[in-house]
């Protein structure tokens, strides 16, 4: 690959910008079934292709194929579909409500639902999750109270973050779900520490953590891979490559020099590159990595190849930096559509049932939102107790905070 011949600073640039016609014909998407499924304890040197090519199960004809087919029963598949759809419906409602001023901010995961939902389905409930703001599907799949989620986003009187966090920075200790940080990447290395402690204690649980493609450049990504490799920590390290980090395409994070799955191999960890919009492939790769970790094989890096279908957040306008409707051209499709069609092909689902489910979910979510609102929104109705502003800075409130609380008159 000869590159430039004159010395000139190379700045990566996406092929297409606003005004260009969406086109992914340059993408090299390997066919379903090309990769074998090695034993979980395989040495990383033996599976270079798994980091370069792509683990795929669902084919264009909506059938599951190849060695990585996890052979899930229809009940599990329908559960996955339901959780993905619920996640999308939740996102849509919350986004709309943000637009109406009920909360300060929101972030959707549209197009990426398979990652979180399939992974939460494949893991045990006791496995510990260190997520980013784009894995709300984990919470929904594990059955976190959606009312709680909403109340948090509304910063209302029932917000379990006690009014202290922006929307979407959930926490759920009972559900083994770690508090989301506003600083990207920090959870990635913390998860490795959690996993080291699990090994230390002889727990059979593993940790699972996520970063976006852009965030792989942060130090914590490197710390996580280094410590995971050194101590053979039982952890799954996921890179959700949705092609974008706000306005920067994945090339700015090094995604055009080598795949993100490949990063793991540099440290001696197996890398799996997965069709992130394929529920079955994500499930299978996760199960493989979880088994490896539980058997003492240490960490695996999984890259989920997907596409951020919507804006980065409610503060963002992607039409400023990428072609409109690019998602419609995304060759790996919509994870919900793909699983739906698979179930239909299996004879286990129908368009009507799907529409019915969507309607049910929309109603359920809308009703919950109405209830959530009754506990207040950011600007109206009941608020969290103002004393909470001074609590939990320390386990025991020190004098300076007690004095400051007095000044606020509470």
């Amino acid at each position: 690959m000869p590159r430039r011949n004159a010395p000139e600073l190379f700045i990566p640039e996406p092929r297409l910008r606003p005004g260009d016609k969406p086109d992914f014909s340059n993408l090299d998407i390997p066919p379903v079934g090309v990769l074998d499924k090695p034993d979980e304890m395989v040495d990383f040197t033996e599976i270079p292709e798994h980091a370069r090519s792509m683990i795929r199960v669902l084919d264009d004809d909506h059938k599951a194929k190849g060695a990585w087919d996890p052979h899930l029963d229809p009940e599990t598949l329908r559960g996955g579909l339901r959780n993905m759809l619920k996640t999308r419906v939740y996102d849509e409602r919350m986004h709309k409500m943000q637009r109406q001023g009920k909360m300060s901010f929101y972030m959707k995961c549209t197009g990426e639902e398979a990652v979180a939902v399939a992974q939460a389905t494949a893991l045990r409930p006791s496995d510990m999750l260190f997520a980013t703001y784009r894995q709300q599907g984990l919470l929904i799949t594990r059955g976190h109270s959606m009312l709680d989620m909403m109340c948090h986003c509304l910063s209302n009187s029932r917000d379990y973050c006690k009014g202290r966090q922006m929307p979407i920075f959930y926490t759920w200790r009972e559900g083994n779900y770690f508090s989301i940080s506003g600083s990207v990447g920090t959870q990635f290395s913390q998860a490795v520490g959690w996993a080291m402690a699990a090994a230390y204690k002889g727990q059979d649980d593993i940790a699972c953590t996520w970063v976006g493609d852009g965030t792989t450049a942060e130090a914590d990504f490197h710390y996580a891979l280094t410590f995971a490799a050194v101590y053979r920590a039982p952890v799954i390290l996921n890179v959700v490559n949705n092609q974008w980090a706000i306005s920067s395409f994945q090339g700015i994070a090094g995604g055009i020099s080598a795949t993100f799955a490949n990063r793991g191999r540099g440290y001696g960890l197996p890398g799996l590159r997965v069709d992130g919009n394929d529920f079955l492939a994500v499930y299978a790769a996760t199960q493989w990595a979880a088994d490896r970790a539980r058997r003492g094989g240490g960490a695996t890096l999984i890259e989920h190849y997907t596409y951020r279908a919507d804006a980065h957040s409610t503060s963002d306008d992607p039409s400023k930096y990428r072609p409109r409707k690019e998602w419609e051209a995304w060759p790996l499709g919509d994870p919900i559509e793909r699983l739906k069609n698979h179930l239909i092909v299996l004879g286990e689902w129908s368009e009507e049932q799907h529409e019915q489910l969507r309607k049910e979910l929309e109603e359920e979510v809308a009703a919950l939102f109405r209830e959530a609102e009754s506990y207040g929104t950011l600007h109206t109705g009941p608020r969290p107790d103002i004393n909470l502003m001074f609590e939990d800075v320390y386990e025991e409130m020190p004098l300076n905070l007690r004095r400051q609380r007095q000044q606020v008159g509470v």
């Binding site: 990207v184 920067s248 950011l378």
Partner: protein, 337 residues
């Protein structure tokens, strides 16, 4: 003279700099094609090319590190840290490297870099989009720490920062990007067009670093502040009825202590105001230096008005923010004494 908001003024400053000096480059997360999440670099890549205004990986430490390397090779990089809450991963490169390079190399090398970063609250950004971390950097010798309070100063000071051969931290109070803000979130937003600081020449000019501005002369007391709190303090002073001298530090370190002591010598009373967390904030240093230099002038304890010693809480933004009431209370306390 045009009317500009602070974003436009910063953009204009960078435009002038890019135009005059081929060694100026701009780098940071989303600053290139997109023009930055606050649009401060909008249009600059289009005008000057990808090599001069470019996106970086999301790695604040890497941004500052490579900026230092570029500086050593003769460039004058302007690095944007998207929110000052995300400056912590870069602290090692700022403190151990940029700040110390000239000293440790016996003057052979230095880091002529400018780090721009939006700071402060008031936009419901919660604890990771609202911080004012200047007090960490004002403890580090070798760094220059700047915070402008209006578009005119922002442009002139940014140009001076980039032309300085020392590393400069340039904190931009994001709440006043679009207009002055007097601390009352319920009033309709003002824009800069009706504020004198909104008159900004299109052409190149610079303002001296290390020089405070007296934004209001007065005889009763001295209010020392910077950034957004200049406007809040002004409003509180108006309400108080006292004839306060208001000093806008503009450069925090190296501190223009002479302007301060001259004023306190005259007034004998003093309030220090900043948005950052109280304990160990830069207010403590200001207070200490006044106490040391003007002890015998003081007729009342100096009061600090600051954010509380908690992270910036999302829903309690306006209870956390040291607004007019708190400044007013302090003024009255100082005057009542």
């Amino acid at each position: 003279m045009t009317s500009m908001n602070m974003i436009q003024a910063l953009n204009s400053a960078m435009d002038c700099l890019l135009d005059r000096d081929p060694n100026v480059v701009i780098m940071g997360e989303d600053v290139g094609y997109f023009g930055g999440v606050f649009r401060a670099t909008a249009g600059l890549q289009q005008k000057y090319g990808r090599q001069r205004v470019f996106d970086t990986p999301i790695a604040e430490g890497g941004i500052v590190a490579t900026a230092i390397g570029m500086g050593v090779n003769g460039l004058r990089p302007i690095a944007e840290i998207q929110f000052s809450d995300y400056i912590y991963p870069a602290i090692d490169q700022i403190v151990s490297e940029a700040a110390r390079l000239r000293y440790r190399s016996g003057g052979e090398y230095y880091a002529p870099i400018t780090i721009r970063s939006p700071c402060g609250g008031g936009i419901f950004g919660g604890q990771t989009h609202s911080q004012s971390p200047e007090g960490i950097f004002t403890h580090v010798s070798g760094l220059t720490t700047v915070m402008p309070s209006n578009p005119y100063d922002a442009k002139g000071l940014l140009i001076a920062a980039v032309e300085s051969n020392d590393p400069v931290l340039f904190f931009e109070p994001k709440r006043i990007y679009n207009g002055p803000f007097d601390g009352d979130p319920n009033k309709p937003a003002e824009d800069w067009s009706r504020h004198e600081g909104g008159d900004v020449p299109e052409e190149y000019y610079s303002l001296p670093l290390r020089q405070a501005a007296i934004v209001r002369e007065g005889a009763d007391l001295t209010v020392i502040t910077y950034g957004t709190m200049v406007h809040v303090s002004r409003a509180a002073v108006e309400r108080s009825g006292f004839d306060a001298e208001i000093i806008d530090l503009r450069t925090l370190v190296p501190l223009d202590i002479e302007t301060i002591t001259k004023s306190v010598h005259k007034t004998g009373r003093c309030v220090v105001v900043h948005e950052a967390t109280r304990t160990g904030g830069f207010g403590a240093e200001i207070l200490s230096q006044i106490q040391e230099d003007c002890f015998w002038d003081l007729e009342a304890p100096i009061e600090r008005v600051t954010g509380w010693d908690t992270p910036y809480p999302h829903a309690f933004e306006w209870e956390y923010f040291p607004g007019q009431e708190r400044v007013l209370t302090a003024i009255e306390k100082v005057m009542g004494a």
